[in-house]
């Protein structure tokens, strides 16, 4: 077990390394650099000034030199300073986004897991009946709706017109922190976020449960005189959850990168918003660090998924 985790960690580290090389090169291939993003075209600056600014950021060095300089520092835990944020150190900046990202993601995911799994079970048990058809249709509509449109509409309807929830942000500015305030800000984006994932989980749960329901051990359970409710809940659902765990795992993996549309419409200070701003402004150190961190999270979540899988399914040995 320990050895397995160790091996996965080593492979993970190598992948992260590859990831940094990839991102680094990709970034330098894009037109424009931080200075281009930063300097207002109507501000007169001399060529020498621009050179000085670039030199100060080390952007004049050859690419490999820049990369290894970054890597060397990063290995020691120094991820540099944000170019576009008055020199905020990158690491605390990025780490600060993990909290809100995870909060939003987990609430969204929690909603979608609970709703998705319940709906999936109902749909599978009532296969091809009214409940199944209506739930499946609802799920399809959920999957088919573009996230940014639902986000904009949700914001407009619930925050502007109905005023049920605040219009974006994570906390009321200036107000002392309170959980209620946080929840009020959280509920709408989390609910909107859960639509797509929930629909997906529902579909997977449904098909997985259908598969399991035709298994022989379900028949065995019935032959033992187990009540139908417990046949479903105890014998079928637990087995059906196995593939769904993988789906949830990969959903988490994707969600860690930030729910880009929701975050930008709701000004949720998460990873997605940070990342998109950083890319738009070519804030190289922030991009590198954030990518590394989300990459590490994805790898970690994958590992955890595999371990969770083994925990739920005794047949799988993690060794």
């Amino acid at each position: 077990m320990l050895q397995y985790i160790l091996r996965r960690t080593v492979v993970g580290l190598l992948m992260l390394l590859a990831l940094t090389v990839l991102i680094f090169t990709l970034l330098r291939l894009t037109p424009g650099d931080p200075i281009d993003a930063y300097i207002n075209p109507s501000v007169p600056m001399s060529a020498a000034d621009l050179v000085a600014l670039r030199t100060r950021l080390g952007l004049d060095q050859p690419l490999p030199v820049q990369y290894f300089a970054w890597l060397g520092a990063a290995v020691t835990g120094d991820f540099g300073y944000s170019i576009q944020r008055g020199g905020e150190p990158v690491l605390p900046l990025v780490l600060g986004r993990i909290g809100p990202t995870i909060l939003l993601m987990f609430s969204g995911l929690a909603i979608s897991v609970v709703v998705g799994i319940a709906a999936g079970i109902l749909a599978a048990v009532r296969r091809n009946q009214f409940a199944d058809l209506s739930l499946s249709t609802a799920a399809f509509v959920g999957i088919s709706s573009p996230a940014f449109l639902t986000a904009l509409l949700g914001l407009y309807v619930f925050a502007v017109v109905l005023r049920w929830v605040p219009a974006g942000g994570m906390l009321t500015p200036g107000a002392p922190f309170s959980v209620g305030d946080l929840l009020a800000h959280l509920i709408l984006p989390a609910a909107l976020l859960s639509i797509g994932h929930g629909a997906l989980i529902m579909r997977y749960m449904r098909s997985s449960l259908l598969e399991v329901l035709s298994q022989e051990y379900v028949r065995t359970a019935r032959a033992k005189g187990v009540r139908e409710f417990w046949v479903i809940v105890k014998h079928a659902v637990r087995n059906a959850l196995l593939p769904v765990i993988t789906v949830i795992g990969s959903t988490i993996g994707i969600a860690i990168g930030g729910a880009i549309f929701i975050e930008s419409v709701f000004d949720w200070p998460g990873m997605g918003l940070l990342m998109i701003n950083a890319v738009v402004r070519r804030d190289y150190p922030v991009i590198m660090c954030a990518t590394l961190l989300t990459g590490a999270c994805v790898i970690l979540v994958n590992l955890l998924t595999d371990i969770a899988y083994a925990a739920v399914d005794p047949r799988i040995k993690v060794a």
Partner: protein
């Protein structure tokens, strides 16, 4: 049957590394197996599930490489062949599968299945291939219109015939038949066994016939090899083996076969315990944990395969039985 050796297997061993997660124990599926097959001979390979029958068959058919040991086909060592030579060799050794449902691609017509080998080996023109396929189909007593149909439209017995026909299209010299009748119904089994026997005699095929049904092997094989946990327990001409089984395992196996004759009830000798895991075989003689006549020495000595009568080999240190 000539005296020419078509296949010489010596010291064949196969280890399976653990798949999936991490490093579990290595499974030694086949250990130090040696035997020969003469041209035209039918050798039966029997043993319980997991004893390594399929693994041996696949190594002989060049489907998996052996971990160690040699396989000489028609005097040529096969383990060191180049890719091209190997492909040519593939045409000369064919394999018949146990499962008539899994061994035919559900998305190919019978015609496509039968000509696939010719396609791969680039033998003949398209029409020649089809003609060859049709001929093979006829030789297994299937109607010619089967050629444009799909496997799922046939019954298990018919499918097994198609599998046999596929093996025949390339006119192989050696056929490895891996439990070709185990998955079939009683009434179909006999039809297929008859067919194989018939073809073998008519075409002078050499065959390695794998089965765990001892009665079927008795009917078809000239020589029988009894396998237990990857090792040969006993090897003898068929008649000899059934008349005078020497190894306690062979005897137990023969007596465990239920006889459809109610009057012969309960003359059985029931073995204790389960088959050990090949990942963790017992020391010494692998059969000793279930052997009714095991003695202390069995735990320490790996019994060699000894010739005890002409052509009759056994791997047991107890000569004091009978």
């Amino acid at each position: 049957m000539s005296d020419e050796l078509l296949l010489e297997v010596s010291g064949l061993t196969k280890d399976f590394a653990p798949v999936a997660f991490g490093r579990g124990p290595v499974v030694r599926a086949v250990q130090d197996v040696s035997f020969n097959i003469r041209r035209g001979e039918v050798v039966g390979l029997v043993g319980e599930s997991g004893s390594g029958k399929t693994t041996i068959g696949r190594m002989v058919a060049q489907l998996v490489p052996p971990t160690s040991g040699g396989i000489r086909f028609d005097g040529v060592e096969t383990t060191s062949l180049s890719r091209r030579e190997l492909r040519r060799l593939h045409a000369r050794v064919q394999y018949i599968f146990q499962d008539p449902f899994a061994s035919l691609s559900p998305r190919m017509t019978i015609g496509e299945i039968l000509t696939e080998g010719l396609d791969i080996q680039r033998i003949g023109s398209k029409s020649e291939r089809i003609a060859k396929g049709a001929k093979a189909l006829a030789s297994v007593d299937l109607p010619p219109d089967a050629i444009s149909r799909y496997p799922h439209e046939f019954s298990g017995g018919q499918r097994q015939r198609i599998g046999i026909a596929r093996a025949l299209t390339l006119v192989p010299e050696l056929i490895v038949a891996d439990e070709p009748v185990s998955a079939l119904d009683v009434s179909i089994q006999a039809q297929i066994v008859n067919l194989l026997r018939d073809l073998q005699i008519r075409l002078g095929l050499t065959m390695l016939f794998i089965a765990h049904d001892l009665a079927v092997v008795e009917y078809i094989a000239d020589t029988v090899i009894v396998l237990y946990l990857g090792r040969i327990m006993e090897m003898a001409p068929s008649r000899e083996l059934y008349a005078r089984p020497q190894h306690p395992y062979t005897r137990a196996l023969l007596s465990a076969v239920p006889s459809p004759d109610p009057s012969k009830r309960s003359s059985r000798q029931i073995l204790k315990g389960d088959i050990p895991s090949p990942a963790n075989p017992p020391s010494g003689c692998v059969f000793r944990t279930r052997c009714p006549v095991a003695i202390e020495a069995c735990a320490s000595i790996v019994p060699p395969l000894r010739e005890t009568a002409k052509g009759h080999f056994k791997a047991c240190i107890r000569d004091d039985l009978d």
